[in-house]
Symmetry: C2
Subunit: 245 residues, 2 copies
DNA sequence: CGGAATTCCCGTACGGCGTGCGGTGTGTGC
DNA sequence: GCACACACCGCACGCCGTACGGGAATTCCG
């Protein structure tokens, strides 16, 4: 049950042929670019300026091609986004086989997901809107399922567990990044330019009508370093997903 | 730490004044519509034809107004989406106070979230792209925090727990809906028109290179009725989030 | 070596989007 | 009854994704 997304698969583009790069035909003018190069350019653009900056025109300009040339390599923008997701999924350093300590393996897998998502901040949002399984994502899924095999879960439950774990990481990284962006814009030392949203929240909280919210926002917590928070939540998550195993 | 979303808060629109509907000024022509009516129309449109069908032009047409008239009530489309989310958050039937059985309360809260999201299939996607806290969403949050208070969690951890729970429900409902859409289009009895994505997955699985995936897809699982699956996962989720409490 | 075949490149154009601007008309309060 | 404040909204602009089709490049075949 991977991820989220309200849009059903958009029409067209047989997955079978999407992920098996067709051989270059031996006749005619040879391509000046490549699907991978285009995908890489799109990723660089998204990393630097956000997912919204990924337009066909901008990607084409970045590799020095005319806009419409992209359509020789990619049937449409949606497919390009799927290619971006899969290329980035290849950043996983997957051992050939699980170590035998499934708990450690699972933790490490999730940590890697977090690292990748922090490196590509657009990824959580992109994942939440579609469900892609290219070769790289497939490899990661297969590995995670192998890790989960020795746990006492039914086979379909392993799929659910994987999806829940990925969803958790995506959701948490989004939150982390939003936090950091807010702090960064008018830092915590110069509290005056504090993000309007945060200021609003605090004003509402101190208003008296939301005592529990006020409390949650007031107490700073045991250890609020991002990595520590993530570690703590991840452990709780794994405990829950594999409860009693 | 509510929800996900890669986009930071878009510029402008002081939340303080967004959620407190300004009094109608006593001079000049009285408005022919209302913010609530516009929001309702937008929700109806999204329910019927998906979030992509919600354009300023379409919403305006639905209430019999010119496109630009909407901008008298709403500063921009992003704000309209936030209003939609908050209005729909008001569907929660929130008891005045928790029952004392936090586990049951939490379960029921999540069930309600699921119900709302199934009624408004665009909601998970909309939530994942922004982080809104209007009065209705705020009330739900406050209630959930009250439910969590007796659990042995630090106050900030309660916020995290709420967010994770909401994220889980959203993610799961998206998956449920995608499933059902796939079945519906070329039902399971007439297996031939089976969704291309699913067919691809199965073909890849039976190919031999993904034994664990094949296994997970093959075994039908203990109980795959949507409600049962959700209940099972929800319990695992709650166990994890409140582990050892 | 020359044409034919094949393939890529991409300028132009179309329909649709969000929304800024400013004219028009309507209702209110004095 | 008058002036003003405001809502209404047509027009236009600059984006977007992408359909179409002519021209350029390369290879194949005779």
């Amino acid at each position: 049950m991977p991820r989220t997304g309200s849009a059903g698969r958009s029409a067209g583009v047989d997955p079978e042929q999407l992920w098996s790069q067709a051989e270059r035909p031996r006749r005619g003018r040879p391509p000046a670019h490549s699907r991978a190069a285009i995908t890489t350019a799109a990723i660089a653009l998204a990393d630097a300026e956000g997912l919204a900056a990924v337009t066909m025109r901008a990607v084409a300009a970045r590799i020095g091609a005319g806009t419409m040339s992209l359509y020789s390599y990619v049937p449409n923008k949606e497919t390009l986004l799927e290619l971006m997701i899969d290329q980035v999924s290849g950043d996983h350093a997957l051992p050939a086989a699980p170590s035998g300590n499934w708990r450690a393996d699972l933790r490490q897998f999730a940590q890697e997901q977090r690292t990748i998502m922090r490196r590509h901040p657009w990824l959580p949002g992109a994942l939440s809107a579609r469900q892609t399984l290219g070769p790289n994502a497939l490899a990661a899924l297969e590995y995670a399922l192998a890790v989960l095999a020795p746990v006492g879960l039914e086979a379909p439950a392993r799929l659910e567990t994987f999806s829940l774990l990925t969803g958790f990481v995506a959701s948490h990284v989004s939150y982390e990044l939003a936090q950091e962006r807010a702090v960064e814009a008018g830092g915590p030392t110069s509290g005056e330019l504090l993000d309007a949203q945060a200021r609003y929240l605090r004003s509402v909280a101190t208003e008296g009508r939301y005592p529990h919210l006020a409390q949650a926002l007031a107490v700073p917590g045991p250890d609020s370093a991002p990595q520590a928070v993530f570690d703590r939540l991840l452990d709780r998550m794994i405990d829950g997903l594999t409860a009693g195993m």
